[in-house]
Symmetry: C3
Subunit: 209 residues, 3 copies
């Protein structure tokens, strides 16, 4: 059994749960919750595969993703009041999710023959765009544009992966270090409430004040 | 003349009208109304065709869809005050639309060689995603996530279609029964205000109370 | 050096700046600003290329677009307070942008063998859809649906281009006139606050009053 595949299913499960929680808070019915869970979990991969013209796109080639998502919604339906207090566990799930999706997306695009920098962007797209679609459909300002270092963690992780590939580390170590990088950055950013600067005003505007 | 094609054009007309009405209520100008009518009518099919890599996508292969949409906008422009009270007629149009689009989407994907369950999902996508894009662009919470059994009716209809195919019913009866199933579920749901359960709290949370 | 390519880069720069300004006003962090600048600048072209199944899609084939966008964000970061008062300059940039994108999109689709009317629609998609995605992600009602003659200017420009092609004007003149047409319509519309009619009520409803 492939470790990456297991992580992929885990990431899908985590993202589906995050989508299901947001949708059920918005008062969506069960079917609406399934749809939001679905787009959250596979939306980033759909966008990536469509942009690189990869076929069959992620969830079409393997129905296990769909079953995983349905299982996640069932899980939320049964245990919602138990999950919500487990913020830390959920956060770990989500962080694992973006780390794995970044790695898988970048690797897929490299294997597909795309330029390294395009592969890096696609890794980020894979990891964050599902959440963006979730937020658009539930009418929230997409979190990733404001939240503590989120997409940037994926970006750095994807670059790290390129570096490790060049060094020629064993494949499993490449995977492990990449996932570790994304998770570590994200965890540290959240723990210390690190945020990226905003462009409230330009540099010179700041100096003048 | 193909009966499915006629129904397809009718469904396109109905969806375009629904898009045009929403957009004109939001104060969009005529060109904005055309764009919303367009995405409402062909958005679901675009998403389906892009995801299954079918080319040329729905409206590109046959300009009659575009003419139908422009006709629908002209119709709204001329008769808006007459259409609005005709809610029941419009509702019937819309219901015919989702029924036909579910059938056409599912059949297209089956003929294209996709797994039956993927074809069912694509049937639902064809029927409901145009409306979702319409709601996103006009800043409403997508209705289908809350409304009386909407996407579920398509889902059950698409499954019914699979079943009828397996039984080996004559093609026209397969079509008729599938469309009937979607419409019947939707009409009954609206008449008796049936709604799917929501995940306000989990099962055990409910029992505790 | 190809004049169209230069204009394309200029249009990309202008659109990226417009995206970066909107995103920084919404309080997005630097990475969020980059993402919005990116989708604003290449979103229309992505949608066009995906719909016509053209591969590699716009920005994947040539990383200069990505560098241009990053440069634009840096520019906003450094000079925001200087740019904002330059509304007229920015407006000229944006207008050049939609004019060039309309031309390039229409031409690409014609060369790709699509029907002329489809090419016209795709020209408009190329020019306006990036802005629509920007507005959706920053939770604004997409401007183009209400603003002074915007998409229509592109539409007329694309048709003009078809006409000039038929007449058989030298290629450079075709380009120049098309860009001029879009820009002139947009500039006149804004100067005289021309707006397209809305469907507040239907024609007969108006007559009755």
């Amino acid at each position: 059994m492939d470790i990456l595949y297991i992580l992929d299913i885990l990431g899908t499960f985590a993202f589906a749960i995050s989508g299901a929680l947001v949708a059920s808070k918005k008062g969506f019915d069960i079917f609406g919750v399934v749809i939001i869970a679905f787009v959250t979990a596979v939306g980033g991969g759909i966008l990536r595969d469509i942009m690189i013209n990869y076929y069959p796109i992620n969830w079409i080639g393997n129905l296990n993703y769909v079953w995983t998502i349905l299982l996640a919604v069932l899980f939320v339906f049964l245990f919602k009041s138990k999950i919500e207090p487990l913020r830390k566990t959920m956060f770990l799930f989500d962080t694992t999710g973006i780390a794995v999706f970044t790695l898988l997306g970048t690797e897929k695009c490299l294997n597909y023959g795309l330029q390294p920098f395009v592969a890096v962007i696609m890794g980020v797209v894979s990891a964050v765009m599902g959440g963006v679609v979730r937020d658009v459909l539930t009418q929230k300002t997409p979190l990733i544009f404001k939240k503590e270092i989120y997409a940037l963690a994926c970006f750095i992780g994807a670059f790290t992966f390129l570096g490790l590939k060049k060094i020629g580390l064993p494949l499993n170590l490449q995977y492990a270090f990449t996932i570790f990088t994304v998770m570590a950055i994200r965890l540290v950013a959240v723990k210390y409430k690190l945020e990226l600067p905003k462009i409230e005003n330009d540099l010179f505007g700041k100096i003048k004040k």
